[in-house]
């Protein structure tokens, strides 16, 4: 038995152990075993039934731990969706508890600094504050930076793009070693769904161009930007089933208690869209940017060929 197989065996037995006993100490143990792995066992981890931070801890452990994705000394950006002046209960923004857990995990994996931002739709100061994300970020010692002015963005070229050949991307992403994409699963009047790929619209300055030049294609195009997210972590704890992406009231919200992690952005969005489809019918093929993303080779919609771990808490 070589070292890798031994570690795999240990990790598997550890994982099995956690499903029986769910103490935090045990989780930590499992995590510390798995971070020793060189590569992740699974292409995608789907988990449901828990609290945001709890589900995140279990899922990240299954996919190999944060140390698998960021190196000590890395400058990391965590990019949630903070688009709206709405409280967490209204499911317009990524859950602050999840954001907090991810940032803490990045620091314990050795990140030198963690930066958080979003190009918001509503007034950015209100969005940062009322989403609960400002408070969550402050609790971790990460940096919450503004994204309200064009001068914070740097031009990047997108040679693979079809409709979008270049874009201005926030300097925090441009300067970062790694970035983690943390969208929330929502319905979307224009793009049909907003998940990981659509969350890219919060790292760019000129969104109007996207809307005016084939939105679905531009979303796929911007995802070809050479600096891909180290991980896509989809928050489906509360999902906005109707009136997305903004929502009107809690009547638009469903408590779905889900979370999806993958490096494959198309796969994780396909999985999340299928999950959403159970709450409200919305065929995956209507979410045009998924197929367009697959066409551009940034990921796959074919979940049957992937090694997926499904966990119910």
């Amino acid at each position: 038995m070589d070292r890798r197989n031994f570690l795999k065996a240990v990790a598997l037995s550890g994982a099995a152990f956690t499903s029986i006993k769910e103490s935090d100490a045990m989780n930590l143990l499992v995590q510390s075993f798995q971070t020793a792995q060189a590569t992740a066992k699974y292409d995608l981890v789907a988990i449901m039934g828990g609290e945001p931070d709890e589900m995140y801890k279990k899922a990240i452990a299954e996919i190999g731990g944060m140390k698998n994705f960021i190196k000590p000394g890395d400058k990391v950006v965590v990019k949630p969706n903070i688009g709206w002046d709405k409280t967490p209960e209204l499911a317009a923004n990524t859950n602050p508890k999840l954001v907090e857990a991810i940032i803490k995990d990045c620091f314990s994996a050795g990140a030198k600094e963690v930066t958080v931002f979003d190009h918001t739709c509503d007034d950015w100061r209100k969005c940062y504050a009322n989403s609960g994300i400002e408070e969550a970020v402050k609790a971790t010692g990460a940096k919450l930076v503004p994204a309200n002015e064009e001068s914070y963005y740097k031009p990047v070229s997108l040679p693979q793009g079809k409709s979008l050949k270049s874009a201005k991307v926030h300097q925090a992403i441009v300067d970062a070693d790694k970035w983690i994409n943390v969208p929330i699963l929502k319905s979307h009047g224009g793009a049909q769904m907003t998940i990981s790929m659509k969350n890219y619209m919060g790292i760019v300055w000129d969104r109007g161009y996207f809307h005016a030049n084939d939105l679905q294609q531009c979303i796929a195009d911007v995802c070809t930007y050479s600096k891909r997210p180290a991980l896509n972590i989809v928050d489906a704890y509360r999902i906005l089933k109707t009136s997305g992406p903004r929502g009107r009231s809690e009547a638009d919200v469903a408590l779905a208690k889900g979370l999806f992690i993958s490096q494959d952005i198309v796969a994780v969005d396909t999985a999340a869209a299928n999950f959403f489809n159970q709450v409200r019918e919305l065929p995956v093929d209507r979410v045009g940017h998924l197929a367009k993303g697959q066409e551009l080779g940034i990921g796959t919609m074919d979940l049957s060929n992937l090694n997926i771990k499904r966990i119910k808490v």
Binding site: A46, M48, D85, C121, D122, D123, R125, K126, K143, L144, V145, P146, N148, E149, S151, Y152, H188, G189, G190, A191, Q192, R207, G208, Y209, H211, A212, N213, D214, L215, Q216, Q217, K241, S243, P245, R246, R248, S249, E250, A251, V253, A254, L255, A256, K257, G258, T270, A271, N274, F275, F276, N277, Q278, V279, D285, R286, G288, L303, R310
Partner: protein, 511 residues
């Protein structure tokens, strides 16, 4: 001592009011808007009885303390006058006769214009409003530029204590008026101190009338006075006739400079007349002719005001008809304005709402409301849209022109109604997905409905539209927007139906 107290109070209030106008980052507590609410003309317009009585009583007891310390325009003039002394070493003021006729003409004209719905003049002359505009249009860009410079420096060191914020013009007309006000008042103050307060300012004229009978007054102690004239030379209101030992209390702003300078302690701020007979002898001999002139001028100004009002009313209808090229025929008033008529009567265009709007959607009108409403606030969506839950403008408005709204009231206030032009819509002519409008709509008055294949196209329900302009701001269609908000002359209340949240049972992952 009195002078030092006066200066301290003035400096503190002036700094706070100015900073409150400039403070885009919300460093000062929100409640500080009481500083604007205690201003005289705003309180009159807001019919804030307590404050009006308070200010009148204060004037009747202490003299024009309001003009001296509370009014930011008064302090601005003092600052200019103080600067002038740095440049002109031997600067002396002299006693000048009261320009009573001019004074009452200005007040009369303002009142008449106001009664004839031309409240522009009141807004133009009200010292607090004029100072507010100077701050909003001239000092604020400088403050923002300073902030952006700091932001650039700090950001380059990876420090985000300061953040950049957009600097932009708010319309040529209001900026020009602000600049003209700044320059004219500065020139007057540089030369002669408080000329504006004692000639033009409507608040100064009203309070000056009250201060004639004030209990505490600056009075000569005649046996000590040697008529050296120092007090006269120091009087920025030019109201001390040191030869006759008379003070024109209608112009005295109780700055105490005279008391401070007097070597012989011959001036006192006291409640009782020290030599009764002399001052009472002097006053009647001077007053009656003035009164007659005043009466004549009042009636004359009433007539000219009438004529002017009519002429202006005619001009207004012509102006609006010519401006048809603007796509929004009816402007949008800020939330809580209730109606255009009410806004026009109550607003003095201090532009505090313009400064304070976090979404940058309030700017001064030009002729959108007609000439009487020039410089009053309108919504425009070039730089943002009205935040659904935000109630800042109504909270800060000192005149009650914008009624303070609760979040729930604001959510139900309809300022305008959405209009959709399908021919301009990207979904229609490009046949690609968009939906930016619906995305921003807080009430889903704009929703996306099935169109061709997997496309969805906007569908509007103007009855539940609040008129926030999110759709209009974000609509990417060029050259003409496909969606915009039509203003309402009177704001409505919309009914929001709250559905109940349904529990959702999810069995599996769905894949």
């Amino acid at each position: 001592m009195l002078k030092k107290i006066r200066i301290a109070v003035s400096v503190i209030l002036f700094a706070l009011i100015s900073w409150h106008f400039l403070d885009f980052a919300g460093l000062l507590p929100q409640q500080l808007h009481w500083l604007e609410k205690i201003q005289f003309i705003p309180a009159l317009l807001a019919v804030n009885v307590l404050i009006i009585i308070g200010l009148i009583l204060m004037t009747a007891i202490l003299g024009r303390v309001y003009c001296s310390s509370i009014c930011p325009m008064g302090v601005y003039q003092d600052i200019v006058a103080w600067l002038s002394k740095r440049f002109i070493r031997k600067k002396k003021y002299t006693y000048g006769k009261a320009k009573t006729v001019l004074r009452w003409s200005f007040l009369g004209l303002t009142v008449v214009a106001f009664l004839f719905n031309f409240s522009f003049l009141l807004g133009l002359l009200d010292p607090y409003g004029a100072y507010g505009r100077m701050t909003t249009h001239l000092f604020r860009p400088a403050y923002l530029a300073g902030n952006n410079l700091l932001a650039a420096i700090f950001t380059s060191f990876d420090n985000f204590t300061f953040y950049k914020t957009a600097i932009y013009g708010l319309g040529v007309f209001s900026t020009a008026v602000s600049l003209a006000t700044l320059v004219c008042i500065a020139v007057l103050a540089w030369k002669n101190g408080r000329t504006y307060c004692n000639t033009v300012c409507p608040a100064g004229t009203i309070l000056g009338t009250i201060s004639r009978i004030s209990v505490f007054k600056i009075r000569f102690v005649e046996e000590r006075c040697n008529k050296c004239g120092l007090c006269r030379m120091k009087c920025k209101a030019s109201c001390i006739d040191s030869n006759k030992l008379q003070i024109d209390y209608s112009r005295c702003v109780t700055c105490f400079n005279c008391i401070e300078i007097c070597n012989r302690d011959a001036m006192q701020y006291a409640p009782m007349k020290l030599k009764k007979q002399e001052s009472s002898l002097v006053l009647p001999s001077d007053s009656p002719p003035v009164n007659e002139a005043r009466r004549r001028f009042l009636s004359a100004s009433l007539l000219t005001g009438l004529a002017a009002g009519k002429m202006i009313a005619q001009e207004s209808s012509d102006g609006i008809l010519q401006k048809k090229a603007v796509k929004r025929e009816t402007p949008i008033a800020p939330p809580g304005a209730v109606s255009f008529d009410r806004l026009r009567d109550k607003c003095i265009s201090c532009h505090l709402c313009v400064s304070k709007c976090p979404s940058h959607v309030i700017k001064p009108a030009f002729l959108e409301y007609g000439p009487g409403g020039m410089m009053q606030p309108i919504l425009y969506f070039d730089r943002g849209f009205c935040n659904y839950d935000c109630t800042v403008c109504g909270e800060v408005c000192p005149t009650g022109a914008l009624v303070p709204l609760t979040k729930e009231e604001k959510n139900a206030t309809q300022m305008g109604q959405v209009q959709f032009t399908m021919a301009n819509c990207i979904v229609y002519y490009d046949e690609t997905n968009c939906g930016a409008c619906s995305e921003h709509c807080p009430t889903q008055a704009v929703s996306m409905v099935s169109y061709k294949d997997s496309l969805t196209i906007p569908h509007i329900e103007p009855t539940i539209c609040v008129g926030c302009g999110g759709c209009e701001y974000v609509c990417p269609a060029i050259p003409h927007k496909a969606i915009y908000v039509k203003g309402l002359k009177s704001q409505n209340t919309i009914e929001i139906k709250f559905e109940k949240q349904k529990d959702v049972e999810i069995e599996g992952f769905g894949f």
